[in-house]
Structure formats: C-alpha cells, structure tokens
C-alpha cells in the first residue's frame, strides 16, 4: 500500500499540530512555511544566528512547542521545507477528481532564481494564518505608524524596539500581548486604548463567561498581561481610540478621542499626545488567497469572512482541510486543536477514534470563544466618521476617501469591482490585502448596498482573490520545476 501524502501549508500552531497528527495517523507529511523557522506568528522564533540561550523567555507554552517541533521535524515520514512559499494552488480541470497541485518556491523572500517545486498531495491542510486588520485614519500612512503585529514581530523575532513613546490603539485582546512584548523589550508604552467601551466588552463576555474560562491557557495569559500593565502603570483605557496621526515625514503626535459604543467620535474629547511610534490593530484578516485558489467556500460572520469548514475541518473542496486563524480568530490554543483534528483526518486517521471526542469538544469550545471574542470586540459601524476626504484608504495607490466617495456614488461605481478599476484602490502591490475589506465595506455603504451585496447582477468582487498568492519573478516562472525529492511525491506537471 502506498503511504498517504499530506501537504501542510503553514507551520504555525495550526499547521504544526496538523503535521503531528497526520504523522500519528500514519501519513507522510510535507510541512512547509515561507519563514525560515516553524512557529508561525505565535511562536515566532529568533534567528538561529542570534544564538539565544533562553528563547522561551519571550513565549507562553515554549517547552511544549519545542517538543512538538522536534518530534514533527525529526520524524522519518516528515519533510520540512523551510523558506518555502506557496505561490499558487492549481485546481484540477473541472470535472476531474483530485486535489489542487501545490506550486512552491524555496529560498530567500522575494529572491531570484529560487527553485520551483510542484507537489501533488492526497490531502491538503491549509493553515496560513491571519494578519492585523487596520482601519484607515488620517495620517496612518506616516512612517512610525505600525500594525500592532509588526511591533510584536520585530520585538519577538529580532529584538528590535520600535520606540520609547509608543501608543497602542484599536480593539481586541491582541493589544495586550503586544504591549507586554514592547515592555519586555524596554519600550515605553504610553497607553493601550481599546475602542470599545467597557459595556460592549463586558456584555460580549458576560453572556457566557464560562467560554472564556474554558480556554484556561488564554484566560491566564490575558490575566498576566493585565497584571503587567498595572504593575508598569500603563493605562488601559476603553472607549477611546486614535483618530489621527500627525508628523513631518514620520509620526510625532497622535490625536485620541472618546468614542460612543458605535465608534462615533465624541466632539471635544480630542487629546493630542506626543509619540515616536503608534501601533494599531482592529482585529485580524485571514489570509484567504490560498483557500480561494483551492476553490474553498467562505463563510461571512460578524467578524468578517473566513473559510467555511464542517465538523471535521473539511472545506467545501474534497480532501482540502483548513485550520487556525483562517477559519476564525480564537488564538493559538484553538488553532492547535483545529490543526490536530484536520491533520488526523487528512492523514487518513479513523474519524471514530475515541480520542477525537475530546479534540472535537475543544475545537467547539474554540469556536465559541471566537464568537465571544467577536462579540466583545466588534468594529463599531460609525468608524468612517473619522475619515476626511484626503485620508488615504488604499496605501499602495494612495486612493483617498474623497475619490472613493465620488466613484461609489457615481452610477458605475456601485460595485466594488468597478470602484476598484475607477479609483485604483486595491490594485497596488499588496493586491488589496490591507484595504480590500475596507474598500468593499465603504463602497457598499456609500452606494447604499449592504456589504457584499452584488449590484445590478454583478458578482461580488472577492477582495481576497489573487491567482498568484506570493510574488514570483518571470525568470523563476520560466524555469522548469526542480527534480523530485526521494520522500516527497511530486507531480510531473
């Protein structure tokens, strides 16, 4: 009998757990990640060259992660492909069975002449994670304004401190670990601003407080961060946010204001603070390009669009599983549980194994936690109130709000896809990864449609549809794929 070949894309908490349980189920696993080291965003590892003696000092659950990493990467049936980006998933011809082919490039990020490979898996686990969602505000394009994850990644991944007068703003519990990482690294943190008022946050959690208690790891972690902020006298303010960044060539000041529960600005509540860095996060956007390329259906939830999965983490495409933040935002423990379930089933494990009962229960708790999180930290509907006509919406093309308003209210601008062409919003190098959901939301509102509602029979523009998931150079595209490796099944394509 030939061994089942599972390809796992992404080696964060979800992907690593998926690889482990696919191996336990008896499959051969190819685990790949664009990064040099596994761990994903949560267990982002320091570069090997740093020779850190105590890397675990920056992490929760480090010992367990190290054990898992060694077990998976050292497994005889596991092929670990580091620095390997999936640049495309190629669907089989309509009507033909089979899984998408996985096209990869291995080598330094955005390098040249990176060897190309094509993998033909029997089952696929998608675990590419998410990135910060940042809502635009005047001045957010100034250098020194960062997505909160950037500050976290630089502190945890390279030991770089972004500033000494740092203000954190936005919404969601993720602001807390970022503040903790900055404090640990020696940065000065002025304050952490949660845009939602205490009432919204409390109501979100209070309805089913046990759902927080059922993520004991997460609850303890959050309690620890809160205690740290108190100890270091960093104020945590609710119902206030940054509505403008100012500076000459880089951020020098932030204007904060009190918000009503719908995030409309309370006039007269503005305060100007001197900062040398500003970190913002309004939640997370899942990396949907690979699931969409595979043909996976999406699910719209109050927190945004995610990959739709069934009780087995199976997507709408046979043989394609999804795990982690692309199915919902619930943190690392939930991502791990989803990965464990997806990997086991992708690897051909028995779906009736008694041990799966606990995994499924934990997964369901993770999902409930995601729903609570979304309810406790919603994005208030009145946020566009802080935009001005000249506020940049699409960072790449510098399309401003005024232009978007004009395009959307003109007849032809009724659908996001048309607005995109008329304004160039979303057509820059990031391919709408940053502004896509925002442009779709603003356009829909301005033209009087509910978000995602097709106008005049046009299909909805999918802000995440990117046939090329990661940049590839013409020279690389023209070269032939690298020869097969002994333990990785490759297609002849």
């Amino acid at each position: 009998m030939t061994v089942r070949q599972v390809v796992v894309i992404g080696a964060g908490p979800a992907g690593l757990a998926a690889a482990a349980s696919a191996l336990a189920a008896g499959a051969a696993v190819t685990l790949l990640d664009a990064a040099e080291r596994p761990g994903g965003q949560y267990h982002r590892m320091l570069p090997e060259e740093y020779g850190a003696a105590r890397p675990g000092r920056l992490h929760h659950g480090w010992a367990a992660f190290e054990r898992l990493r060694r077990r998976v990467l050292g497994h005889p049936r596991c092929t670990w492909l580091a620095e390997t980006a999936v640049w495309a998933l190629e669907r089989p011809e309509p009507g033909h069975p089979g899984l998408p082919l996985v096209h990869t490039l291995t080598g330094p990020a955005d390098g040249t002449d990176r060897p190309r490979r094509t993998l033909a898996p029997d089952a696929l686990v998608l675990a590419p994670g998410a990135h910060d969602r940042v809502l635009p505000f005047p001045g957010w394009e100034l250098p020194g304004v960062y997505a909160a994850g950037a500050a976290q990644a630089l502190a945890k991944g390279e030991r770089l401190v972004i500033g000494d007068d740092v203000l954190l703003a936005g919404s969601g519990p993720f602001l807390l670990p970022v503040a903790a990482a900055l404090l640990e690294a020696g940065a000065g943190v002025r304050a952490v601003l949660e845009a939602n008022p205490p009432r919204t946050v409390a109501r979100g959690w209070a309805r089913r407080p046990w759902e927080l208690a059922e993520q004991p790891g997460k609850a303890a972690e959050l309690a620890e961060y809160t205690a740290l902020l108190a100890h270091r006298r960093v104020p945590y303010r609710m119902g206030r946010t940054v509505i403008e960044a100012r500076g000459d060539g880089r951020v020098e000041e932030a204007v904060t204001a009190r918000l009503r529960p719908d995030w409309s600005v309370i006039p007269g509540s503005e305060v100007t603070v001197a900062v040398d860095a500003l970190c913002v996060s309004h939640g997370f956007s899942p990396q949907l390009e690979l699931p969409l390329a595979a043909g996976c259906a999406l699910l719209r939830s109050p927190a945004g669009e995610f990959v739709a999965v069934d009780g087995d983490q199976l997507t709408s495409c046979p043989g394609v599983y999804a795990a982690g933040e692309i199915t919902g935002i619930a943190g690392a423990p939930a991502a791990r549980t989803e990965g464990a379930l997806a990997g086991w089933l992708a690897g051909g494990g028995d779906p009736a194994t008694p041990a799966l009962r606990r995994v499924r229960r934990n997964r369901d708790r993770g999902r409930a936690f995601a729903a609570r999180l979304a309810a406790a930290h919603p994005v208030g509907s009145a946020w566009p109130g802080w935009l001005r006509p000249e506020t940049v919406i699409c960072r790449c093309e510098e399309t401003d709000y005024g232009t978007l308003c004009r395009a959307a209210t003109e007849e032809a601008g009724a659908a996001p896809r048309v607005a995109k062409l008329a304004t160039r919003a979303g057509l820059g190098p990031c391919q709408a990864r940053i502004c896509g959901p925002t442009v779709a939301e603003l356009t829909a509102r301005l033209s009087g449609n509910s978000p995602g509602c097709p106008a005049d029979g046009l299909p909805v523009a999918a802000p995440h549809r990117r046939p090329i998931a990661q940049p590839i150079r013409l020279g690389e595209l023209a070269s032939s794929p690298a020869p097969s490796e002994p333990d990785t099944k490759e297609s002849t394509a």
């Binding site: 950037a150 630089l154 770089l160 972004i162 860095a277 896809r417 190098p429």
Partner: protein, 140 residues
C-alpha cells in the same frame, strides 16, 4: 527616539553579541548583525522610511510580516524585495525605490529600467485592468 536593537548584554533571551554585517543602502554603508531582516537593519540604524510612494510620501515598515508591501526595496539588483521578510546578508547592495511619477508617465525608480525589466515580479497587478477582474468574478 528611533527604533533600536536591544543590547545583547541586556537581552533576557541570553543571545550572543552577534556577528556584524555590512550592507550598503544607496551607496552608504549601514551595519547590522547576522539574523536581522533588512528592515531590522535599517530601523536599528535610525531609518524609519526608505520607499517613496507615488505622491512623494515616505514609507517604511507597516505590517512587518510581508503583507502590505510598503517596505519594498531593491536588493542586489532585484526590485520589490520585502525588507521585513528578507534576511540581510553581508555585502547586500540595497537601493531604495520610488513610485513618483515623472512627466512622461513612467514610474521613476532609483534603479535602472533594465534591472526592473529583468527582475520583473509577476503578480495579478500586471493583469489588473482586465483579466484579474475576470478572475474576481468567477465563482465568488
């Protein structure tokens, strides 16, 4: 103050002082340590921005994880390298990029046109005005 690297001696992770490396940025030498990303080297050297957007506005790191493409620069002749994702290598020749439009509508880049054509990066962007949209329509 500007961004800075935590001193090895004060670092709770007990990291080694680090092997020094040197890159050039638009001809000027900039030093860093092995393991840093190019963005990390530039930030620690006090540069918070290096790219110029169409309007002339300065840009540097925004997302820090390879999503926003704000931080792109040219490395050893290859354009559009994400500085936050690329490890710095000793001797890297880095040039900054600009999207400022010049009179004839061309995009002025600080590297030569020939290099741009050579290392052209394929993204859906190049098909944006027609075929991307077709793709966006299908089965959404």
């Amino acid at each position: 103050m500007s961004p800075r690297l935590i001193r090895a001696a004060a670092d709770a992770t007990g990291r080694r002082p680090g092997r020094p490396l040197r890159i050039t940025v638009d001809g000027e030498p900039v030093t860093g340590i092995a393991g840093q990303s190019i963005a990390g080297v530039l930030l620690a050297a006090g540069r918070t921005s290096w790219r110029t957007a169409r309007s002339g506005a300065p840009r540097g790191v925004f997302c820090g994880i390879g999503v926003c493409f704000d931080c792109v620069l040219t490395v050893n002749g290859a354009p559009d390298v994400r500085a936050c994702r690329r490890r710095a290598a000793d001797g890297d020749v880095v040039t900054t990029q600009s999207r400022v439009e010049v009179a004839d509508g061309d995009v002025a880049a600080s590297q030569s046109r020939a290099e741009v054509a050579d290392g052209d990066v394929v993204t859906t962007q190049s098909r944006a005005d027609g075929s991307t949209d077709g793709a966006a329509g299908e089965g959404a």
